[in-house]
């Protein structure tokens, strides 16, 4: 523990200990220039003391926008007047999180001019957060951001900013163009980014391959992940070189036996893969990235339902479209159509603050697929049934005379025109 004399923030000072960088140290430095940051630290110290959070939420919008500003005010603003209003602006980040130094300077300048000079790269959603401006300054900052070509959005119960891995711009594993697709979806759904219109938030994340560097499975409602459906490309020449360099034992211990489905065999310094049983975990390709590469017939797998805890605990997304190509304009149209159908059905029947994954949990995947007009597929099964006692309605013994047959589905769909009827009786 540091033994500074009569520190006003003893609890915060604790967080400066240890060899790692400390946000407290950074903020203390910043406080020399920005008095608001000093008060921010003061309020945080008080919060730690009292174990009580002193921020309250409100709504501030720039004209035409319902999202992009997270408005917070302090409930002890009389004690800390400079942070009485301390709002955050959500700036839409470029696909792949790549910036020119010019762009970064622009953001820094705007942040210094209107806000507390604190930028977060990037929030959980993947966007840029500009922290600490008051009512007027927030709107001025938003205006200047837009003048310079930035845009804001992605807060509240609506579409959040999309994020993706660097993909083909820098990575040899990429199976589709994550950056192009992210840009395309952002442009297509910009209205939903500006103006929230769903029961709750909805996030897309895109990863170029199953390594999933964008954390899409855990952190988004609709992950789009690159994959392939033919064979892993094997360069036997490179395999031989790899073995010569590292030794056969190394390959057996680190590649062959670590394949989760044991579908790789090694014979005479040659690798053979039983691709039918490959689950595309990427392990072998990651280790022997010169010798192995994803197949040539590439596309994406689309999943649905990932989220952090709220109504139910954390969930991971599960497969909704096992494979689709994402190359031509028609492919992109198909993707948009699917997204629209999902939103339509979820917005229509979802409850307030219910993520799409929770919604599927509640109504059942069968009902959901009916509602969005997708055929069920064995690959959508999350895991095999663990309870062997299943009752099939058709096979159940006849009901006692007069007892009505209860339909298990809560939602019925007319095939033509996709009319949806909900049976509210449980």
């Amino acid at each position: 523990m540091s033994k500074k004399k009569e520190s006003k923030t003893p609890l915060l000072d604790d967080l400066e200990d240890g060899p790692w960088p400390s946000f407290i140290t950074d903020l203390k430095n910043l406080a020399k220039k920005k008095p608001a940051v000093g008060q921010l630290l003061g309020q945080l110290e008080q919060s730690y003391e009292e174990r009580w959070d002193h921020w309250l939420g409100t709504v501030i919008n720039t004209p035409g926008y319902g999202g992009g500003i997270i408005a917070r005010y302090s409930d002890i603003g009389n004690k800390f007047p400079d942070i009485a209003q301390f709002h955050t602006i959500r700036v839409i980040e470029p696909a792949g999180w790549v910036y020119s130094t010019d762009a970064l300077r622009q953001l820094c300048d705007i942040s210094e001019k209107y806000s507390a000079g604190i930028l977060q790269f990037h929030g959980m959603t993947g966007d840029i957060l500009m922290l600490g401006s008051n009512n007027e300054k927030t709107l001025e900052a938003a205006e200047e951001l837009m003048e310079k070509g930035w845009d804001i959005g992605g807060s509240g119960n609506g579409l959040r900013t999309l994020s993706c891995c660097i993909g083909p711009a820098y990575c040899e594993m990429a199976c589709f163009d994550t950056i192009k697709t992210t840009k395309f979806l952002t442009d297509t759904f910009i209205s939903q980014l500006h103006r929230p219109e769903f029961p709750y938030k909805f996030k897309f994340k895109l990863s170029g391959c199953p390594n999933d560097c964008a954390n899409s499975i855990q952190r988004s409602d609709m992950p789009i992940i690159g994959t392939w459906r033919d064979e892993i490309q094997v360069n036997q020449e490179e395999v031989k070189k790899f073995i010569d360099e590292k030794g056969e034992e190394y390959v057996v211990d680190n590649v062959i036996t670590r394949c989760p489905t044991k579908c790789i065999t090694l014979k005479n310094k040659k690798i053979e893969i039983d691709d039918k049983n490959c689950v595309k975990c990427m392990h072998c390709i990651n280790v022997m990235h010169k010798a192995l590469a994803p197949g040539k017939d590439r596309g994406v797998t689309i999943l649905l339902g990932g989220k952090r805890t709220l109504k139910i605990g954390d969930t991971m997304s599960s497969v909704i479209v096992p494979f689709m190509k994402l190359e031509t304009d028609e492919d992109y149209e198909k993707l948009i159509d699917l997204v629209r159908r999902i939103w339509e059905f979820w917005t229509e029947h979802g409850m307030d603050h219910e993520r799409v994954g929770e919604f599927i949990d509640r109504v059942g995947l069968g009902t959901f697929l009916d509602g969005i007009g997708l055929e069920p597929d064995p690959q959508m099964v999350r895991h095999p049934r663990t309870n062997p006692y299943i009752k099939f309605e058709e096979l159940a013994p006849p009901k006692i005379d007069g007892e009505p047959k209860v339909a298990p589905n809560v939602v019925d769909k007319e095939i033509e025109g996709r009319e949806i009827v909900v049976d509210m009786q449980k």
């Binding site: 939420g57 709504v59 919008n61 035409g64 997270i70 408005a71 807060s155 119960n157 103006r195 219109e197």
Partner: protein
Amino acid sequence: MGSFELNGRTYQTDEDGYLVNIEEWSKEVGEYLAKQEELEMTEAHWEVINFLREYYEEYKIAPMIKILVKAIAKKFGSEKGNTKYLYDLYPEGPAKQACKIAGLPKPTGCV
């Protein structure tokens, strides 16, 4: 906390100008609050306000945006059933401005 006076009556508001007691609302109060927001109220504006008030009477919460959008679509045709239309009427958002003019409680922002 704040307050304003209208036709000899005093109305309590919170620090953002939202009416504290929803019972006190009247069309004149709505008009006054709209003026504070610098909004020119038209028939279309009032339709939104009326719907919000009816909904609040019944359910004691403000409606989800999708319910508002649908109600508007039903009244004015589907080409107006979108958020863009609502933001054209209420540039700072139906949740914020329309709720304020309708005398509904202040919506709290959500991350």
